[in-house]
């Protein structure tokens, strides 16, 4: 079971200040939930850079290679067909499809990659059950912090209030 405390702040600066404050008090398992991307929070939460570019590169090259291979096999190996004396392995004319397949493979992988990396699709989430949390996609900047026990919860609650949280809610996930 995971126990969270959610605190709402007005504006990204206060939210960042609160996240830094919580970190200074030894709370490390945190998340920020915001209606717009706040780049500075990545540093506060020490989020590693995404590996999606590597995924796109690998799948893109794989898609191109696969498409080229299919064209070469069908046109030059399995059923060579003489079209106006053109070479069976006609490299340049295989490039358009290889390029398009690279884009298709990379884009498909990126789409799935973004979803998997974000833990989506997930239609229900304990946070979404909190009525006030609806502001997180409108104008509220939230900090979520994992609290292990009652003592830590009380401490985190105090810190959140101290740093200017407008709302503090408690959420439990799992059984």
């Amino acid at each position: 079971m995971t126990r969270w405390l959610l605190g709402e702040f007005r504006g990204p600066e206060r939210m960042l200040h609160a996240a830094r404050g919580l970190r200074a008090r030894g709370f490390t398992r945190m998340d920020a939930l915001t209606p717009i991307p706040v780049e500075e929070v990545d540093e506060v939460l020490e989020l590693p850079a995404s590996r999606l570019p590597l995924l796109a590169l690998v799948t893109g090259v794989g898609g191109a290679a696969g498409a080229y291979l299919v064209q070469w096999f069908t046109q030059a190996v399995d059923w060579p067909l003489d079209v106006g004396g053109r070479p069976f392995h006609s490299g340049p004319v295989f490039i358009p499809i290889a390029f398009e397949s690279a884009v298709l493979a990379a884009a498909g992988a990126l789409f799935l990659g973004v979803l998997v990396a974000c833990g989506l699709p997930r239609v229900t989430h304990p946070f979404l059950g909190v009525e006030a949390f609806r502001s997180a996609s409108v104008d509220g900047f939230w900090v979520a912090v994992v609290v292990e026990d009652d003592a830590r919860e009380a401490e985190a609650r105090e810190v959140l209030h101290e740093l200017g949280a407008e709302h503090v809610s408690r959420v439990e996930e799992g059984t």
């Binding site: 717009i36 570019p53 079209v83 358009p96 990396a117 989430h125 502001s135 104008d139």
Partner: protein, 477 residues
């Protein structure tokens, strides 16, 4: 707009003539103003337009049914004009799609701030335009139910597609383009679907948008990966736009037919695609801005930028025409010279001069700053560009085919009612798709506009600070 914050004295940037956002409002009010079109019930105007577009879509269904039951013989094309409306409409529609991706992907890569307010609508336009485009080659196959012959699958007949043919390139290019456009559009919309979910008051709307939002919570981890993924998708979509219309131009350029066999076609087609797409963006954006009251986010700055792009791409297109005719003459080849002369003075001259008027002369009015921000002038010009670009594709295909090498086989072309129904039907289908989009999904990227507002405020605050320091005693230069 409700509760506009008191305006600070803003310092004028001499390079920016118009602000990107009119007035300032709180994030909540801004979000609500952008969601208003989908939250409030539809007006009679929307229903009337849906009625017209549905009737045209029905006409499209009839024309498709006739084509399937009777065959492509019901179309006007025949030897020598074996390609006509099927390919004209395909090239026209897919060209229209390109401006959507251009605005959303290329401008994102270049960090252009003004794209934020218009990209969602432009991308939606792309999707429906590409869907209309894809219909034509499929129907043109004659036996559309055997389209899978174009896919390399291991059949017992050992029948492989001919990958040296540009038509198989087309299939891959168009299906890739449609898929990538859908993914790019949807990924970009995730945060706004969550906003719609959290703002909606009716339970069923909340559930519907909640399902589409896939559980987006705006977590820092979500945003980090989303931004990376979105930027990479833009990076992939950018060369895709250029490649797709280049491949479409190969359908013509690799043939030896006079009027088609020219190296200028790939860049000329890409420029024409962007030009016609911008025309369609303006055609849709201007009425939508007025009806949905989006003047505060789609400002004169956006109209100005779109008009400038229309002018620039129009000049590219004009250069393409000049090149085409110059090389027709410079080749010294009798057939090439004939293919160009029938455009200037022959049977197709009225069409050609219409194209020159619509695509070359009309955009020139946008050298004037006042014209660039006049919605009426822009809309009229956009409509003329749409007409001009369709006619251009008509001439490329029909004029070149009807009078080629052998004068004894020359024959001119006339469309049948099925051809005309297919064209007008796809226009209705496209309009229906766009109307439904405006009603069901957030038409302007909410999170991006909020972010834009924050950035504008920050830069204004910075400018004020600099000015205060410069003006303070002892702090000046």
């Amino acid at each position: 707009m409700s509760e506009p914050a008191p305006r600070a004295p803003v310092l004028e940037d001499p390079l920016v003539e118009h602000p990107l956002l009119e007035g300032r409002s709180s994030d909540a009010a801004l979000g609500e103003s952008l969601l208003r079109p989908v939250l409030r019930p539809a007006g009679w105007g929307w229903w009337a337009l849906v009625g017209v577009c549905s009737a045209l879509t029905l006409l499209l269904c009839v024309a498709i049914a006739v084509t399937l039951l009777e065959g492509v013989g019901t179309w006007g094309n025949n030897i020598p004009v074996a390609w006509a409306f099927g390919i004209i409409n395909f090239v026209w529609w897919i060209g229209i799609g390109h401006a959507g991706t251009l605005i959303s992907a290329i401008l994102l890569l270049f960090g252009e701030k003004w794209r934020s307010s218009v990209n969602r609508m432009a991308e939606a336009m792309t999707l429906f335009a590409v869907a209309c485009a894809g219909l034509f080659p499929l129907l043109h196959l004659g036996r559309p139910w055997k389209f899978y012959y174009l896919v390399p699958y291991p059949s017992t007949l050992r029948l492989w597609p001919q990958f040296r043919s540009p038509l198989t390139w087309d299939i891959v290019a168009v299906s890739t383009y449609l898929t990538v456009s859908v993914l790019f559009w949807y990924v970009g919309m995730l945060p706004d679907l969550a906003t719609a979910r959290d703002t909606a008051r009716q339970t069923w709307k909340r559930r519907a948008w909640g399902l589409l939002a896939l559980g987006w919570r705006g977590s820092a981890r979500h945003w980090l990966r989303w931004r990376t993924g979105y930027l990479l998708l833009a990076g992939l979509a950018t060369p895709l736009v250029v490649s797709v219309h280049t491949i479409v131009s190969f359908d013509f350029a690799v043939a030896q037919l006079p009027g088609w066999h020219t190296t200028v076609f790939p860049p000329y087609f890409v420029a024409g695609a962007i030009f016609s797409g911008l025309g369609m963006v303006l055609t849709l954006l201007l009425p939508a801005r007025r009806v949905l009251q989006l003047h505060h986010v789609v400002t004169d700055a956006h109209l100005d930028a779109l008009a400038r792009m229309l002018l620039v791409s129009g000049l590219f297109v004009a250069y393409g025409y000049a090149q085409e005719h110059f090389f027709g003459w410079y080749s010294g080849n009798a057939e090439e010279m004939h293919a160009m002369s029938i455009l200037r003075t022959g049977a197709y001259a009225p069409g050609f001069w219409l194209v020159v008027a619509c695509n070359v002369l009309v955009p020139q009015v946008f050298w004037s700053a006042r014209m660039r921000t006049s919605p009426g002038v822009l809309w009229a010009a956009a409509l003329l560009v749409n007409v001009g670009m369709w006619t251009e594709r008509f001439l490329i295909i029909v004029a070149s085919l009807s009078e080629d090498f052998l004068p004894s086989s020359w024959r001119h072309y006339a469309p049948t009612w099925v051809d005309l129904s297919l064209l007008s039907g796809t226009v209705g289908f496209f309009g229906l798709g766009f109307l439904l989009f405006l009603k069901l999904l957030p038409p302007v990227p909410i999170s991006e506009v909020k972010q834009l507002q924050r950035e504008v405020e920050e830069s204004e605050a910075f400018a004020r600070e600099v000015a205060a320091q410069a003006g303070a005693p002892g702090g000046g230069r």
